[in-house]
Amino acid sequence: MAKPQLPGIVKGLGITLKTAFETMFPDGPLRPPAPSKGAATVQYPHEKEEPAPRARGVIALKEENCTACMLCARECPDWCIYIEAHKTLAPPRRAGGKPRSVNALDRFDIDFSLCMYCGICVEVCPFEALFWSPEYEYSEVRIQDLLHDKSRLDQWMHTVPDFEPLEPGSEVKVKKVPR
């Protein structure tokens, strides 16, 4: 036979009351109430939330690494990445060598009013040019201003945190963020 239990209604009432008191008196019932300490939320404009290191805040671009291969632009579900480039000659790697033919970026825009933060562009980039940054404070009054050009995307690079170390025993080495 099942053990006699408290009815679910009473249990539920107990849980809500307990949470209310834990929020109001985080230091115990005899200490003065401090709900701002007990609450799980952050009073945003007065204190900033600390996002997780892998939080998807904004996409940063390392311009030198981009080869304008267009993989990100083609994989983007929202088509919110705009890339234009032209061919140019770069100096040879070794002295006396042939000048290299490279793609120079003319335009690399991400429209954050369309972006749905899926992260496919970051995943698909083979040249380590796109990174997630946890920065989230870039709202704008005008929707056009949410179109970040390549210089603005490049400025986000310094907010990109180092990659988290992998589990011990992992065979893949953790990549380094190009600085």
Partner: protein, 346 residues
């Protein structure tokens, strides 16, 4: 005898005006306090958050900001609506709440109208809000609103019965329908000869008290009995076409009714404004302390209503009706029989 205040003799109309204005002020103050205390703060703490913090110290002026916001919004009347009925409906709902307050005593003489059949009047007037809700649902010319209004009518009528039947036990115990007499019976009563705390009817009528609170929860259409305004299926029931100040009126009426029912419950079961007669406080003291006592009891009871509201999920419509007809009404009938028998025996 002509009533006097600070040595001034007052005509009947002057006295009545003062009583009504004080009653209205008390009602609105209590309602605002309850909204801030429970709707804004207590529920936030239950959910590990702080609630409004910006308007005034600790968000205490948030309600004023909300009222200001609602007043600025456009007051829309839909094209197909029955316009007169549509505009009248919120007023009727609000009026039924205000009229309930007229007979709730807050002190030895602090009552707007000391009716001989006070509790009967309260219950009758609380039933009047059904008319306003049905008017709103029908006049909105909206199927959601009509469904919500019909659900509300079905629910409010179903739960009116246990509400009234639960009160009958108290009336038998107090031998009066007058709320002042019910208060006095509790204050001057004794439990087996011991009169240290009087005889609040919550002790002898605990079954009636529980049924009364459940029925009040349903009468207020608070969760878990919020089928009529179920936002996930009926958008917001009979309120769906209302906006601006008329929606605000429904909002005020909802919480004012919560305060009113809590005040009625504390009068019937918790001893109302009176402290036990054996404590020897005269009428002079109770003129001042009485309103505070009954307000504190009412606010506590509203807290219970809101605590349940923010904890439990919504019933299904058939569960809701079954609870009233198969469970609450038989128990309250049995409660009346047992109370009657015990009253005769002792």
């Amino acid at each position: 005898m002509t009533p006097t205040i600070l040595g001034l003799e007052l005509a009947y109309w002057q006295e009545t005006t003062i009583r009504v204005l004080l009653g209205l002020a008390a009602l609105l103050l209590l309602t605002g306090g309850v909204v801030y205390l429970y709707l804004f703060k207590f529920v936030s703490f239950m959910q590990s958050r702080l609630g409004p913090m910006e308007a005034g110290p600790y968000g205490s002026l948030q309600l004023l900001a909300e009222v200001g916001k609602w007043l600025q919004k456009e007051d829309i009347t839909t094209e197909n609506a029955d316009k007169t009925v549509f505009r009248l409906a919120p007023a009727i709902v609000l009026a039924s709440t205000f009229v309930m307050f007229a007979v709730i005593p807050a002190g030895p003489s602090a009552v707007i109208a000391d009716l001989g059949t006070g509790i009967y009047f309260v219950l009758a007037m609380s039933g009047l809000s059904v008319v306003g809700i049905l008017m709103a649902g029908w006049a909105s010319a909206n199927k959601y609103a009509l469904l919500g209004a019909l659900r509300a009518a079905g629910q409010l009528i179903a739960y009116e019965l246990p509400l009234v039947l639960a009160v009958v036990g108290v009336v038998i115990s107090a031998e009066s329908l007058n709320l002042q007499d019910i208060v006095r019976a509790q204050s001057e009563g004794a439990i087996f000869g011991w009169d240290g705390i009087g005889n609040p009817f919550i002790l002898t009528q605990i079954v009636g008290f529980t049924i009364f609170l459940i029925a009040v929860q349903a009468e207020l259409t608070q969760s878990p009995f919020d089928m009529p305004v179920a936002e996930s299926e009926l958008v917001h029931g009979y309120q769906v076409e209302y906006s601006g100040i008329r929606f605000l009126v429904y909002f005020i009426a909802e919480f004012a009714t919560a305060v009113a029912f809590a005040a009625v419950a504390s009068t019937l079961f918790l001893g109302g404004w009176a402290l036990p007669a054996s404590w020897g406080l005269g009428d002079g003291v109770m003129h001042v302390v009485g309103p505070l006592v009954v307000s504190a009891k009412a606010v506590l009871l509203v807290g219970v209503v809101f605590w349940v509201r923010f904890t439990l999920p919504r019933f299904r419509e058939d569960q809701l009706q079954a609870l009233a007809w198969k469970f609450l009404i038989p128990i309250s009938l049995a409660n009346i029989v047992v109370t009657g028998v015990l009253k005769v025996v002792f």
